[in-house]
């Protein structure tokens, strides 16, 4: 629902998020839930969002990075910009996450976390965008010089072997490892 909303809607702000929260709530019948489902529903669910879309200019992208996720902009294999974090230790802090309960989103909205950041890829000779979840993001910020290894992976099997190898060497956390490379 978040991803579809990011793609479909021009403006990403508190009102946008509030509408998604309402749509989410309307899609469930709370009174019909058993106590476990109702308790989990009342507690709310939490999500990261890493969105990239083309901006009006041909070489510009708009980005939103919320939660324990990482966007890396590389020039070739050289890591030039990372967001929302620049230091692996930042993954140790409690992440700001999007919530299905409106009250949980207030601080995030107030802090401007939904604001889109624009990057001009014309500033890069060979722009590459790497989008990844927390375990990979922590790894890349710890070993930025090893970015070429990540970018060289072309098949799922190779990727799985790479993750297992890094986990076994205690270089990578046993956590989510999703990777999207746009080049």
């Amino acid at each position: 629902m978040l991803a579809a909303g990011f793609v479909a809607d021009e403006t990403i702000d508190g009102h946008w998020l509030s509408q998604l929260v309402d749509r989410y709530a309307a899609s469930y019948d709370r009174d019909a839930m058993d106590w476990m489902q109702q308790g989990a529903f009342d507690r709310g669910s939490f999500a990261s969002l890493l969105g990239v879309r083309w901006s009006s200019g041909a070489s510009r992208v708009e980005v939103v990075c919320i939660g324990d996720t990482l966007l890396a902009l590389l020039d070739g294999t050289d890591v030039r910009i990372t967001a929302p974090y620049t230091d692996p230790a930042e993954f140790n802090a409690r992440p700001r996450l999007l919530a299905t309960q409106s009250g949980e989103n207030e601080d995030l909205i107030q802090e401007g976390a939904l604001a889109l950041t624009t990057y001009d890829l014309a500033d890069f000779d060979n722009p590459v965008l790497a989008l990844m979840t927390d375990a990979l993001g922590h790894w890349l910020l710890t070993f930025p010089e090893r970015a070429p290894e990540l970018l060289a992976i072309e098949h799922q099997d190779t990727f799985e072997n790479f993750v297992e190898q890094e986990r076994s060497a205690s270089h990578m956390r046993r956590d989510d490892t999703t990777l999207v490379i746009l080049d």
């Binding site: 009174d31 839930m33 058993d34 106590w35 476990m36 489902q37 109702q38 308790g39 989990a40 009342d42 507690r43 140790n92 409690r94 992440p95 409106s102 009250g103």
Partner: protein, 260 residues
């Protein structure tokens, strides 16, 4: 692991009108409810925790929320004693409040009678925790939350508390947190770092029996505006209803959820 005093004095009323036994039962049920819902994902309840209960009082020592010393959270989730319809006042997000119907499961009913066989209760807890730690050597070490309102009537429990704190898994030592609940309007003492300032030898003994708070738990206590210092221990004395609820919340969050 929860260890609950069910001696006769737990029948005394607190400032909110409920007895200590009733309030502790409410908080315990709410705590289990929160733990279950935190483990509930789209595909059902995930087996992230085991939960144990030992009670001691006039009927001696009893084990388990379902007659077993320690149960999986999935087992508990599927087997409450009953589910009550309750209402809860909530913020409406527009400056007002509204009443919301909530299905509330009950696993534990209050009861209180007789003396305070604390030594026997803590011994039973130590046996159960030791067996669990042997069977789960790589797990987060058990946390024992001991709720009492009076002195032991069956001996000195300090050495048993010390033994509990020495049980380990490969992830660390077990934690024993003690909370003394009170129906009096006396000042409560929360998470002290030394015996100085504690009112009597009983309070000092409970302090010595209590584990130092690991960083992730100390951080949770700080977020609830408790003043902590180096060496603060998981101990409250003369806890009021708010303190009891906070103590359970702080003591039952494992490292993963505390960090996220």
């Amino acid at each position: 692991m929860f260890v609950i005093d069910q001696s006769g004095s737990m029948n005394e009323a607190m400032s909110i009108g409920k007895s200590k036994a009733e309030f502790v039962a409410d908080v315990l049920n709410k705590t289990i409810y929160t733990l279950v819902t935190n483990c509930t994902k789209a595909d059902g309840v995930r087996n992230y925790f085991d939960i144990g209960l030992i009670t001691y009082g006039g009927s001696g020592v009893n084990s388990g929320l379902r007659g077993e010393g320690i149960s999986s959270i999935v087992d508990l989730a599927n087997n409450p004693l009953r589910v009550e319809d309750r209402s809860r006042v909530e913020d409406d997000g527009a400056g007002g409040v509204f009443e919301r119907r909530v299905k509330f499961p009950v696993w534990f009913d209050p009861t209180a009678s007789g003396g305070t066989p604390m030594c026997a209760g803590l011994t039973r807890a130590a046996e159960a925790v030791a067996a669990w730690a042997d069977a789960h050597p790589y797990s987060y070490p058990p946390t024992i939350i001991h709720v009492t309102d009076g002195e032991a009537t069956d001996g000195d429990p300090e050495h048993i508390g010390g033994a509990l704190g020495q049980l380990t898994t490969q992830d660390g030592s077990c934690l024993l947190f003690n909370i003394h609940v009170s129906s009096e309007q006396a000042d409560s003492i929360s998470f002290p770092a030394s015996e100085a300032g504690l009112p009597d030898s009983y309070a000092r003994m409970l302090f010595r029996m209590s584990s130092a708070m690991p960083d992730h738990i100390a951080r949770l206590a700080s977020e609830k505006n408790y003043k902590l210092s180096d060496g603060s221990r998981g101990f409250m004395f003369n806890a009021d209803p708010r303190g009891i609820a906070n103590f359970f919340d702080i003591g039952t969050r494992p490292r993963l959820t505390a960090d996220r």
